[in-house]
């Protein structure tokens, strides 16, 4: 029995090792590329043994990071993304909090229909909204004189409603876990509804609220389709801006890989901080939703 068990253990660790390898290989290639000189990248050639692309840069350099902003205005893109994502996070969290509280605590007419419609929007193709949305944006701007395209407000508004469906569902299931007796006790003690929400429920639901906030931030940070049409010089975000490193005339792979690392950092930090709650929310959204 013993040797068979040992073989099983070895196979288990080999399989785990393979999974880890598959996950990490693209990241290794990204990091390696970000430290390579432009000359090395441009002259490498898979058909010539001497010039094969390597994992370890031949002459490691920090130049791609230092000059991340020189050919592409990456720092401006970064600022746009931060503002849009923070705005989306703030607005979406407040709206989702109110809606989730109502869905979890009140039994009102149309509640089920509303929940179904919230979930349905999540599954429709984004491209379906894009064309009419763009035309409506343009018309409203022309009629009222308020610019919406390529403005922070327009983008924050758009992304808020993208983040809402999942945020509402996630926060509602979190609030359902908070016993009703707590609300009742607070209200018997003389709190109003609003007071009970802000000073009793919100502190208790903080992990759920934080998870929703981070989800909204990451969603806005990563969005590509609407950003490619609705943003312009003033609000171009990192997700779309990253593509500027490769143009018809020049391909700066080193710079692009460095930028890839830089723009992944905020997402990685936020996700790691709240991993447990976001994972719980994702699982709940897919199974209970």
């Amino acid at each position: 029995m013993r040797p068979r068990r040992a073989i099983q253990q070895i196979l288990l660790y080999l399989a785990v090792g393979l999974v880890v390898l598959v996950v990490l290989v693209p990241y290794a290639w990204m990091i390696s590329g970000s430290f390579k000189e432009t000359l090395e990248l441009q002259s490498s050639d898979v058909t010539v043994a001497r010039l094969r692309p390597t994992w370890i840069p031949r002459r490691p350099t920090l130049r791609n990071y230092r000059e991340v902003n020189s050919s592409v205005p990456m720092l401006s893109y970064f600022r746009h993304s931060i503002l849009i994502s923070l705005g989306t996070m703030a607005v979406a969290t407040v709206l989702a909090l109110l809606a989730a509280y109502a869905l979890s605590r009140f039994n009102f007419r149309g509640r089920e229909a509303y929940t179904v419609s919230v979930l349905a929007t999540q599954m429709l193709p984004g491209i379906l909204f894009l064309i009419p949305y763009y035309l409506i944006f343009t018309t409203i701007s022309r009629k009222t004189g308020i610019p919406l395209r390529d403005t922070y407000w327009g983008m924050i508004f758009t992304y808020t409603s993208f983040a809402l469906p999942f945020s509402i569902v996630m926060l509602r299931s979190y609030m359902n876990g908070i016993p009703l007796e707590i609300d009742e006790q607070a209200m018997i003690d003389g709190c109003t509804r609003t007071r009970a929400l802000w000073s009793v429920i919100v502190p208790l639901a903080t992990p759920g609220i934080a998870a929703v906030a981070i989800y909204a931030f990451i969603m806005a940070w990563n969005e590509v389709l609407f950003a490619s049409v609705l943003t312009g010089r003033v609000t171009r975000t990192v997700s779309v801006g990253i593509m500027d490193y490769i143009t018809a005339t020049s391909s700066n792979w080193g710079g692009m890989m460095a930028a890839c690392i830089v723009i992944s950092i905020p997402v990685l930090i936020l996700f790691t901080a709240m991993q447990r709650y976001i994972v719980e929310g994702l699982v709940a959204g897919a199974t209970k939703g």
């Binding site: 193709p125 409603s161 359902n176 994972v279």
Partner: protein
């Protein structure tokens, strides 16, 4: 479950808690008003961004909205279903592309969803075993899922580069090919995108399936072992039935998401991925925002939505039929 009828949507605890809250204070009309006020902002936001554009989308698809009429698109001439006919007329470039795009996206979704699910299942089973460093690996596999789409797919574009990519280096070095293949142009492009999408997509399946695996009571396996069931029998008779309901939701979600795929094609292949890798989203985007034929773009996106609706209904019907047969 997401797609069951509204009545089963709210869990029992939902109903109980809401009923109790209603009973707490008798002023049900005031209660209603508070509740409506609280969901109002969310409703307005979603009305403006989701529902209203959807209705206008139907309107646009029935009108001749193009470069010349777009300034006053609400008064564009009504042309009935002509946009729909034109969009799928195989004798035009767009029509031929549209039919090819539907074929491509079907192939792409079928492979990406099934391979992604199988890998996710295998890894979930693996990570459900006891081994050193398990918590760390469970966190690590989420990396592809959370990496921004544009970053992940740009890195894969770099991997697939013909002359300077790491993939071709090994293909040549190990003697598998003699000339470096060009991955991102022509027919191979679709498969390059499939590979990248599978890499990015399986962690989500693994995450959901692992959560379901952890809920299976361990004494079921113990009882099965006592009865002399093999590992394979335990998998077929205990594990899979417990994963069934989560699999149903997961596969449907994956099918819908992949049918709508845009980011991977746009980031890896650009605005025009070429005939062999054209998909509905890229075609619609170009038709509307490059060729400025908004009417045709809208018609195409409505067809895409209808196809997804049919897929969903058929999927649930077939499922319900087979589930019913099993119960009998």
């Amino acid at each position: 479950m997401l797609w069951q009828s509204g009545s089963t949507l709210l869990t029992q605890s939902d109903r109980r808690s809401a009923g109790k809250a209603g009973a707490l204070s008798g002023w049900s009309r005031r209660q209603h008003r508070t509740a409506y006020l609280m969901i109002l902002p969310a409703v307005v936001a979603m009305l403006l961004v989701h529902y209203m554009p959807m209705l206008w989308g139907f309107y646009i698809s029935l009108h001749d909205v193009n470069l010349f009429t777009m300034a006053d698109w609400m008064n564009a001439p009504f042309i009935g279903l002509r946009n729909f006919v034109d969009a799928f007329d195989p004798s035009t470039t767009t029509g031929a592309r549209a039919l090819r795009a539907l074929l491509n996206i079907t192939v792409y979704s079928a492979v990406t969803v099934s391979v992604g699910y199988l890998i996710g299942l295998a890894v979930a089973l693996l990570l459900n075993q006891q081994f050193w460093g398990r918590t760390f690996v469970r966190g690590l596999i989420l990396l592809p899922y959370i990496t921004p789409d544009s970053v992940a797919y740009k890195v894969w574009t770099f991997i697939f580069q013909s002359r300077i990519g790491i993939l071709n280096r090994y293909l040549i070095q190990w003697g598998l090919v003699s000339e470096p293949p060009i991955w991102l142009i022509g027919p191979p492009a679709l498969w390059a995108v499939v590979a990248a999408s599978v890499w990015k997509g399986w962690p989500f399946s693994a995450l959901i399936l692992l959560a379901a695996l952890q809920k299976i009571p361990q004494d079921l396996y113990e009882a099965a072992r006592v009865d002399g069931a093999s590992i394979w029998q335990q998998f077929a008779w205990i594990t899979m039935p417990h994963l069934q309901s989560v699999t149903v939701t997961l596969l449907l979600m994956s099918i819908l998401w992949n049918f709508n795929a845009f980011n991977q094609f746009y980031v890896m292949l650009g605005r025009d991925p070429g005939v062999a890798a054209e998909v509905p989203s890229t075609l619609i985007l170009r038709e509307a925002f490059t060729n400025l034929r908004y009417g045709i773009g809208s018609a195409l996106s409505i067809i895409l939505m209808l196809i997804l609706l049919i897929v969903t209904v058929v999927y649930l019907r077939v499922l319900r039929a087979t589930a019913g047969a099993e119960e009998v």
